[in-house]
Symmetry: C2
Subunit: 429 residues, 2 copies
């Protein structure tokens, strides 16, 4: 065999898994159709966080008493910075793989049989194959020529009027950011609330803040058509049309398997996802699937984790995934973080009681800690500034089987937003 | 007896301890000389974080490619916001104590005998007395009429030229903030490096960034005199005088016991500190001392913790302090956080490898994880944005006896700065 492992796709999960194998002296082939680093690094989590960061800084200064501020954005210049920042990350990952001996081939990888992959007309053999082909945005027939995550994050001018179809986390993150950067924003959601993928009380905090920011939220609303001329005309069932210069379509993502040849191999599917067991193996013993293509949630850190588990199994270390404390974060205002699961009991403390948040002029949100009858922590939901940075405390507590008393007695530095986790762990008398 | 517990001082430790007793139906008297909430809330950690937050937002926008920004600060207006923000915190704490039945008396509290306190000429008896009188800045004879933490945080105009005497954490936090707000800043430190209270490699990151910001750092430098006319003239041994409009004195803090009468009671001291055992008891059984006055480190979260332990003992629950994972944080650039202790081994990863930090246009710093030969985590030192928010992960790991593998396998959300802790926990092959 030419390789110990061949990767179809160098997304977050793929390159991370490859690195783990390479560090353990395995021979690795990586086949990538587009850009090293995949959707997250190039077109998703990384550029979106950069844009959100910018919008939050501007919004903070605009709202701060005593400060008067004017600014101009040259988005072309900013995009150059963004691209160089991303290149530093993706280039660094790619170089590290190469320096550890990986072969990287650009082209569409396909699986011929259980030990053979093809790319650019050549065949390579591998003991194991890892499918990490990711996901693509859902497209709706008849709605063409709109923006998706890639296009909206590559814009060279802030939209004047932005219509977002789909109030899930991508739509809401982008809507919040562009509103803070000056766009007039409409969010159109078919369900009866925004962020249907997260707990309702967390979503409500974001909804309230968006309305304070004068974002137009339309729930229970169905887009009938989007017509593009010089501008877009968005037609909504039972409501007035909206005319806008930019329309973002963010109604979900679906697994991407085009060109991989997995249909011919008869690999079992689970709906649109490739079915995997806890070892991240597909129905064919030596073929693995990781990341978005292998099941929800479609998150980069889940892909990293999948990739690590697959690599361990390839190295003969029997390892299974444990999604008990798989965090979910949304970079909205307030920032949302959730991990673990709800429990029989919970405590709740408002952000208003958190001194560090108040020093940031932030008052919205809450800390909610879930636990069992005996006090064992089962999970947490937080709507608070920087919650993504400290939710792992709770993931760790869940995995280590810690109690609310353990959390309460762990000294949290003052003043931090994370102190809210200590406060919410105080036993009620 | 009139009360179960009488507090001399309503600082962070005092009011927190009182609240714990009040929630458990104890009768509590709180005597406060100045402001409820003490130094931290009124004049220290809280207003300083608000100022640092402002300076960081401005600096970020000034440095961001593609953004051109002009701003004006009306510090009088900003101070009003700051005061109202602080009142919300201190007022909330005070009201909560009152609603739970506390008696609060403003005046200088003094201990007459082991069960009697006096204030404003009246006497009250209590089963237990808790001393929480805090600390004050060190003043140097002959250097008068300069700014200390209280005055610098109350200024109504950004200094043109600011000389800071003392390169400890207060001096460095303020120097960084005012430099980012436009002041020309000189930091004069007697020792051979700034931040002598923290590990040298962490301090070096801050030193390097300060120099990039064109802050003038003078180590091994002794101030001979500070003369004030219309401006200040700062004379330094072997160097040219510096003329400045503002001089901040931050050469340390000392415990404050004036007026408490503890000398007459014969309470044992430990240098300038009140000596306490692990129960936070002084040499007199029913008199406790907590927070700054009872020993280093002088940090609000240590005071909270002391206050909780003292309250537990007063309620008859034999409880001792465990400072194994007492965090230390400094809100510099990069932000510094340390917890636990160094170990036989360590891993180190640069912030440059952290995608989330790069989205913030931050590249300086590192993650350093200490562990024993068997992989048990002993502590960590981090110089990275928002490190104060996620250092508690490591405190928790130390207290729960977790290993680097446990930390590595805890899924950290992507992209976060806290992922650096996962990366630094990867076993070296």
């Amino acid at each position: 065999m030419d390789y110990d492992a061949a990767f179809i796709g160098a997304g977050a999960g793929g390159y991370y898994s490859a690195l783990h194998l390479l560090k353990n002296k395995k021979k690795v082939l990586i086949i990538e159709k587009e850009k090293f680093g995949g959707e997250c690094l190039n077109y998703g989590c990384i550029p979106s966080k950069a844009l959100i960061e910018l919008s939050e800084n501007i919004n903070y200064l605009q709202d701060m008493p005593g400060i008067s501020m004017q600014y101009k954005i040259d988005m072309k210049e900013w995009q150059k910075w963004k691209e160089s920042m991303i290149s530093r990350i993706t280039g660094g990952a790619e170089k590290l793989c190469l320096s550890l001996g990986a072969r990287i081939i650009y082209g569409t990888g396909s699986i011929k049989d259980k030990n053979t992959v093809t790319v650019n007309g050549n065949e390579y053999t591998a003991e194991n194959i890892i499918i990490d082909t990711g996901s693509v945005p859902v497209k709706v027939k008849g709605i063409d020529d709109v923006y998706y995550n890639r296009e909206i994050l590559a814009i060279e001018k802030i939209p004047k009027k932005l219509v977002i179809i789909g109030g899930g986390y991508i739509g809401i993150e982008m809507g919040t950011a562009f509103r803070k950067l000056g766009s007039e924003v409409y969010i159109i959601e078919m369900k009866d609330r925004i962020l249907p993928e997260i707990e309702e009380d967390l979503a409500n905090e974001v909804d309230r803040k968006l309305r304070k920011l004068d974002v137009h939220i339309m729930t229970n609303s169905k887009v009938l058509s989007v017509k593009k001329d010089n501008t877009y005309n968005v037609s909504i069932e039972g409501k007035d049309d909206i005319v806008a210069d930019t329309v973002l379509m963010s109604v979900g993502r679906i697994p991407y398997i085009e060109g991989t040849g997995i249909e011919k191999l008869g690999i079992e599917m689970d709906g649109r996802f490739i079915k995997t067991d806890l070892h991240k193996k597909t129905s064919i013993e030596n073929i693995y699937a990781i990341g978005d293509v292998s099941g929800a949630p479609m998150l980069a850190h889940k892909a990293f984790y999948d990739g690590y588990v697959a690599a361990e199994n390839i190295m003969g270390n029997d390892t299974i995934v444990d999604y008990r404390a798989m965090p979910f974060v949304v970079y909205t205002d307030p920032e949302i973080a959730f991990t673990g699961k709800t429990g029989n009991k919970y405590n709740k403390v408002p952000v208003m009681a958190n001194p560090r948040a108040l020093t940031m002029n932030q008052k919205d949100g809450f800390f909610k800690l879930y636990y069992d009858d005996d006090g064992t922590i089962t999970g947490a939901g937080v709507a608070a500034p920087r919650s993504s940075e400290f939710i792992t405390e709770i993931s760790m507590a869940v995995e280590a089987g810690l109690s609310i008393d353990d959390l309460f007695l762990t000294v949290h530095p003052h003043p931090t937003v994370s102190e809210g986790l200590k406060d919410v762990a105080e036993r009620k008398n």
